[in-house]
Symmetry: C2
């Protein structure tokens, strides 16, 4: 698309933003960033230091990553090699790919990026011996060094190994390779993030932490190191913090949040992150005396894999979505909507929604403060 | 994202395509393009000429639009002003926005594009008098001329007017404006496209055609013109063709197709469009002796609003999707999958899936023939 179609400029009033646009409410966003770091500091035992490595697959935005680092994050996570490349080339100094990358073409490109940025750390997960060999080959060819974590399946049921014997075999293979630095275990329980009750999440993370504890013990008993156990997301990180097993947490959604996270029952001791992410849409058609309104944002502006968006407008609810439309119904005695009115929608799932947009319009009060490119939008490779 | 991360180059073998990549199988694609035009020609009554104006919101690709025009399409449809701008600037000579555009900022930009391209036709729908006035103001300011269609709600229940009186009032308002050319009625029944049985679709389109016929009669009775009744999609166009009411059809999905369209029972006289669109993904992790495989394409490469993708691989089915993963289970006596194997996925819904990708890799047999930019990817404005 024509890059000139940027929805706003810094200094614009909200009414001047072109729609549909991805908005971040900076007051809520700033509070979320601070609340996470405060919660981690408060939860740490005396002398304990837990690293925060926020997941950037949610925002894909260098400007947000820089703010997370400025507040004390030790690095970021990403999910794809192409995302890692975007952030490394933008100067983010420590990027962990919390995923397997196996294609020789991708590994060669990643090793080349690592070699070009010797001051940066790049990490990657492995769950099979073939992956270790392919990565080592790429690192040798490019004289690169990459941190390697063994992915332990602690309940996600997707990638990762499930036995201590597999962990040991992989760690030993990594330690034999000169270009690879074995860093420990990636033990993320993604499926636990959206369990609705605290009890369910606590049970899931207790089991995950026990699996990670046992795997680390097996490594140490075999004379191998295990410097880091990393994992945890926005829905469970307080549980990983208190487990005594995790050295690093990876929450991703907390700066932005979404309708699905809002359906989780919150723990009393966990910060209540505010919704800062919205899709701003405009009414393009009304009927029934303003009791039905059609907005100019649909499936191409809002991901619906975790349910439809919610209208951030009392007395209105989402009736249906199509490619470029969301239809709203008035359900209570709310004011009628008119053509040209603006409505903020709360995305069902922040990560794939952000990935639909090229720009994040960061607003403070009634004005646009900054417009951030979604640098890793489409970086699925 | 780094534009150098293009998944393939013309001449590459399929095995060299980076994943996940959006593929078009050119043999199926070419056959689909031809079959549509043949079906329209065969269905026309003697002396009747029905125009084909394919909807480009499905593919967002100038290279595909050019092929549609070369085969006899009279123009294309789009859904957003930003899409229209992309195609007009690329030289597509006739673009109808099958939607309301009401924001003065957008209308001014559209009128400016129209004024810069006086040899091109740009059309737009209206369903309220305010929209007519705003469009006329923009056209006057930019000395532009835009075709205007009144959108008639024939069952979609989203935008459009529902009474003949509203149609007449809008048509009269359009005809009073010097910069606007009243072209007739937009009467698209989107909700009918995915009704599963032919009987349901036939009943829906019979009702839609009757509504359009009555509205046109009301216009003619009032001394107003109604040159064009336009509408129809891939699921129903044979019905609109035989209705005797529609002058133009707007099928969008037929070149590509998707899993949801494949669930429609086909009419005996309708062409059977083949699946030409796939997301090529790679196995990055296996377990259970190769009976479970995790692919490197997820919600950021495949839209799931119309259901999950299907594996184009006998004996395998999709178990779950997450942001960057699809997990497959082996359900029959199929061969095991190994890390590095390639699997083609059939998207649930083609339109929002294409919008996730920057490139379409057009393949012929075992080779990449062309790599087309998805020019209007993200053009939601």
């Amino acid at each position: 698309m024509d890059p000139s179609w940027q929805p706003a400029q810094p200094g614009d009033r909200l009414a001047a933003i072109d729609t549909p646009a991805l908005l971040v409410d900076l007051d809520a966003f700033d509070a979320n960033l601070a609340a996470l770091m405060q919660a981690v500091a408060a939860a740490a035992a005396p002398g304990q230091s837990i690293r925060v490595r926020p997941h950037a697959k949610s925002h894909k935005c260098v400007a947000i990553a820089r703010q997370q680092l400025a507040l004390g994050a030790s690095g970021i996570c990403v999910q794809k090699a192409a995302e890692a490349e975007v952030f490394i080339r933008a100067g983010i100094p420590d990027v962990l790919i919390t995923n397997e990358v196996v294609a020789p073409r991708k590994l060669a490109r990643l090793a080349a990026v690592a070699a070009e940025h010797p001051q940066a750390r790049i990490g990657l997960c492995v769950d099979a011996l073939g992956g270790v060999g392919a990565l080592a080959t790429a690192c040798t060819a490019h004289r690169a060094r990459i941190d390697v974590y063994v992915e332990l399946d602690v309940g996600q049921d997707r990638c990762g190994v499930r036995t201590d014997a597999q962990v040991l075999a992989l760690a030993q293979a990594v330690c034999r390779q000169a270009g690879l630095a074995f860093m420990g275990l990636h033990a993320y329980h993604g499926a636990a993030q959206h369990l609705r009750t605290l009890e369910e999440r606590a049970a899931a993370i207790a089991q995950a932490a026990e699996r990670a504890r046992a795997a680390r013990a097996a490594l140490l008993a075999a004379g191998l190191p295990c410097p880091i156990v990393t994992g945890a997301g926005t829905g469970t990180f307080m549980l990983e913090l208190s487990s005594g097993v995790y050295d690093e947490i990876q929450p991703g959604s907390y700066p932005l949040m979404d309708a699905d996270y809002a359906r989780n029952a919150a723990a009393a001791d966990a910060p209540r992150f505010a919704q800062s992410l919205f899709v701003l849409a405009e009414v393009i058609s009304v009927r029934d005396d303003g009791g039905r309104a059609t907005l100019d944002a649909g499936l191409k502006s809002l991901a619906t894999d975790s349910g439809p968006p919610l209208a951030d407008l009392a007395g209105w609810q989402v009736r249906s979505l199509s490619d470029e439309h969301t239809v709203l119904d008035r359900v209570a005695g709310a004011h009628a909507l008119q053509v040209g009115d603006r409505v903020r929608l709360i995305p069902g799932h922040c990560d794939p929604t952000v990935n639909l947009h090229d720009w994040i319009v960061a607003c403070r009060g009634d004005h646009v403060a900054e417009v951030w490119p979604v640098n890793a939008r489409g970086a699925v490779f």
